[in-house]
Every structure is written in C-alpha cells, then in structure tokens.
Symmetry: D2
C-alpha cells in the first residue's frame, strides 16, 4: 500500500540532521502503538528544534514566524513506547519565503524509516501574517539541510 | 500556496457526516493558534467516532482493526481555543480492506474549510496484523459516507 | 483508596458552572481508558474557557496572566472515548492574586464524579511575572463561582 | 506560594532514578512555557519507563496493570522547549498493591526542581480490575527506588 514510496530515497543516510526523540507513555494508543497523530509531533519537534537551536529563530518575539501550510505522513511500521526514535531532517525545496522539510522517523539501528513525510512552512510577518522573505541566518541554516536527492518524499 | 486545492470540492455541503469538536486550551500553541499537529487529532476523532458510534466497531476486542497508512492536511486558516470546530467526513475511495476518508474542518457558519485532508486506513487482523476484508457492518456504514464528488482532497 | 474524598462534597450540584467536553480518540491509552494526564487537560480547558468566555481575559495581549502553581486529581472511575464528560467548576478560595478552582468530571447522567481535583492559579504581570491583583472583571466573574460549601476537594 | 514545599526534601540527590525527557515543540503553550498538563506526562513517562525497562512489566498482555488513583504537581519554575528535563523518581510508600511515586523535574545542572509531585498507583487484575498484590519482580524493582527520606512531596 505504499509502493510508490520506493521512488523516493528515504534511507537514513539521505537525511542531513538527526534528533533523537524518546517516545512517551501517552504516545501509545489503545493498540500499544504510537498513535498516528503523534508522528506529526515528532516531525514538528525535529523542525522547530533545528530552527531554534541551529537557526536561532526567536519564537517569542522574532519578527518572522514559520506557519505550516501542508503536511503529510506515510506510515510503514509501528513505533512503541519506550523506544527512542531518530528523526532525520532534510530540506527538499527552499524558496524565498517557503521551505519543504522532509522527515524520516527511524527505529534504532534501522536504515529504512518507520514513517516518512513532509511539512511545507511559509515564513510570515508576525504582525501582518503575510509571507515574507526568510531572514538570512535562517536561510543559511536551512541551506545546510538541502538534500542532494532528486526525489522527494511522495 | 494552496491554489490547487481549488480543484477539489471542499465546501461544507460536500461532506456527509459532521462532528462538533470543541478546541481545548492545550491545543493552542505559542502563537495562540491550534498547533498544526492537533488538526490530525480532530481528523482521527471524527473518523473513530463514526466507526465506533455508527459502524459499531469494537476497538478493544474486535477481530479487525483500522491502521492508518497515510495522512495529509492542508491548512488554510488558523483555529483558536475556545472555538468549536465542525469536522466534516466523507469517504472518497472504499476498497476491500482499505478506505480513504476525507475530512474538512470548518469554523462555525463558514462554508469553506479552515483545513482539509485525508486518512488512508487499512483494516487488519488483530492477531496477524495483515490486511483483511472489512466486516460487512463496517462497509455498510462507510458506504453511507461515499462522496458523489469526482475530485478528492489533493 | 479515596475514602477521605467522602469528607468533601463533590456531587454534581455542588459545582457552579459546567462545560461539556467530548473525549477524543487520542485521549484513550493502551487500556482503552482516558489516560490520567488528559484529565488535567479537561480541568485546564474548563478553567480557561470560563476565563476567556465569561471573564473576558485576553490571553494574547492582556497585562495579567494566570499561572498554575499547584494541581491535583483523584481518579474514581474510568472514562473512555467517545463519551462526553461534563466538567463542573467552582471556586473554593478567592484571594487577591490567587484562586483555587475545584473541578469535578462527570459522566453523563451521573451525580458523583469520575474524577475530581483542583488547580491553584496565581495572576501575574505579563512583563515581570510577579503576582498582581486580579483585574476587577476577572474577580467579578470568579465570585459567581464561589462555592457555598465548607469542604474542599481534598 | 509554595513555602510548605520546603518541608520536603526535593533536591536532585533525594531521587533514586533519572530519565532525561526532551521537551517537544507542542509542549509549549501560548506563553512559551511548557503547559502545566504536560508535566504529568513527564511524570507518567518516568514511571512507565521504569516499570517497563527496569521492572519488565508487560503492559499489553500482563495479568496485572497499574492504575493511577491520585496525582499532584507543584510548579516552581517554567520549563520551555527545546530544553531537556531530568525526571527524578523515588518511591515514598510501597504497599501490597499500591505505590506512591514521587517525581522531581529538574532543569539541566539545577539541584532544586522546577516542579515536583507524586502519583499513587494501584496494581489491579486485568480482568476484574480489582486491586491485587503486585508481582514480586515489580516489587523488587520498586524497592530499589524507596527513599530514605522521612518527608514526602507535599
């Protein structure tokens, strides 16, 4: 049911930055697996951690904020508390005001992801909420994540 | 940034079943808007509420369970606590063991959605976790949601 | 294990304001019950809904904010998705800058709570984060919730 | 507002087991601080991680399950994404079927907690949901956490 995923390179080494995300007890649903919604929280955390730690964006008072306009996830394998997930991050498209992040979630020691997906974010002005060019220090940080890959997470 | 959404009919009256979902305080993020991850919890809740209340699936002991294999959301407008969101649900594709749900999230009295997306679920056997035909009472309930529309949420 | 709860009046009619909170699919944990953490989100939502809708506090730009300094919950019965919970709210102690909210969570048509607890909040200045007197319109709204009861949720 | 906390020893070295819990983006609320509800998820995660990893309880099929009957938290300092929190765990009271866990949440390199609280759990039979003696391997694991301290988190 996810055959077309094979057209994209989602292997661990295709990602440029990693964050270890320990699962939490409450992530597990009634089936004993991490609920599908929570995967997006892992994506979100990987992205915002990079933006805050590496790109030094100031989420409380900065003039420019990232807004998410689209997101997607394909689920290949279950995850379960208490395992630790490695979130791999790369940038597939870097525009003037927008960016497409691709994320793979990897179980320990696995090369193929348990899930993969993307977030499309647009940087907006805090006051007007209109799209604006991303600040240069953000662009520089995101350029370091740009994938060499031609094929994106579908 | 979401121009191609216009090719799909996402208006309120294109959905077949509605659930009112009040936002919660914790849904709001640092910007005072419902965090993008939480939209998927609204999707999830609309689907599972329908399956449990209308299709009478037994999530604790039933032999067949729904697993989510893919999900997506496009964000058009912000939502904020304490507003109540109307989640519209329809079925765009009903297979033997799989189903594509489409969901629109509507602010009160609005005809166009604040966000729209889909979940692709596969019914699996609880023991083997392999895809199986969905039970007839589930299929019957899902058939009532099948959209007349030719165009799906992109 | 909750014998001393009997010394407090936690019956439905001892609360002064009610909010219906539908459970969400993701609230359920591995045992098919609402996870114990989520009860606090119901408490939080009941309080903030009252503050925003009835007391008209402005959480985004208001000069005075509520900070929680202590919270507690006693769990008597399980809750499960998709049931709707009635959150009853009352004020047990109303100080100059602080307030003790008591909350009971009721299943439909039940007179005794499935869980009960409290939040102690202190109003602080947004800039200095020091305690300040709560604004008069907030105090007036909270006075309407003051319980006649002598005994508090333990 | 938390003066009586000084009667309990909540310093880092009074806890017997530690788990590093990275905050997540979604933990932050509108004020840019970890929402008060989320602290309980850190407590919950510290406890269940210990039970699953150290005490080897089987949450999916084991005959005996822990149910939470009471929980409490006192908030001393704000936490914020992306910081990593150290959750300290100890056992203050170990009964036949029940246990009182005390938890302190510590910012990196800090000796006094940002928050502290407790969970009272009762072990119940999976079928009858009645309290039962905890299994010996669980008791042994919990005995290793018993605090020497006379004073409990209030």
């Amino acid at each position: 049911m996810s055959n077309d995923a094979s057209t994209a390179n989602e292997a661990r080494d295709s990602f440029r930055h990693f964050l270890a995300i320990p699962t939490r007890w409450k992530d597990n649903d009634i089936y004993g697996h991490v609920n599908n919604v929570v995967y997006y929280s892992y994506f979100d955390t990987a992205i915002m951690n990079y933006l805050m730690v590496e790109a030094q964006i100031d989420v409380l008072t900065g003039a420019v904020l990232p807004f998410t306009v689209e997101s997607k996830c394909r689920y290949y394998q279950s995850l379960s508390f208490p395992e630790v997930v490695d979130a791999g991050l790369r940038v597939a498209r870097l525009g003037n005001s927008s960016v497409r992040y691709e994320i793979g979630l990897f179980r320990q020691q696995q090369d193929q992801p348990a899930a993969a997906g993307y977030f499309v974010d647009v940087f907006v002005d805090r006051q007007t909420q209109k799209p604006v060019s991303m600040p240069q220090h953000v662009r520089s940080a995101l350029e370091r994540l740009v994938s060499q890959d031609d094929e994106a997470v579908p």
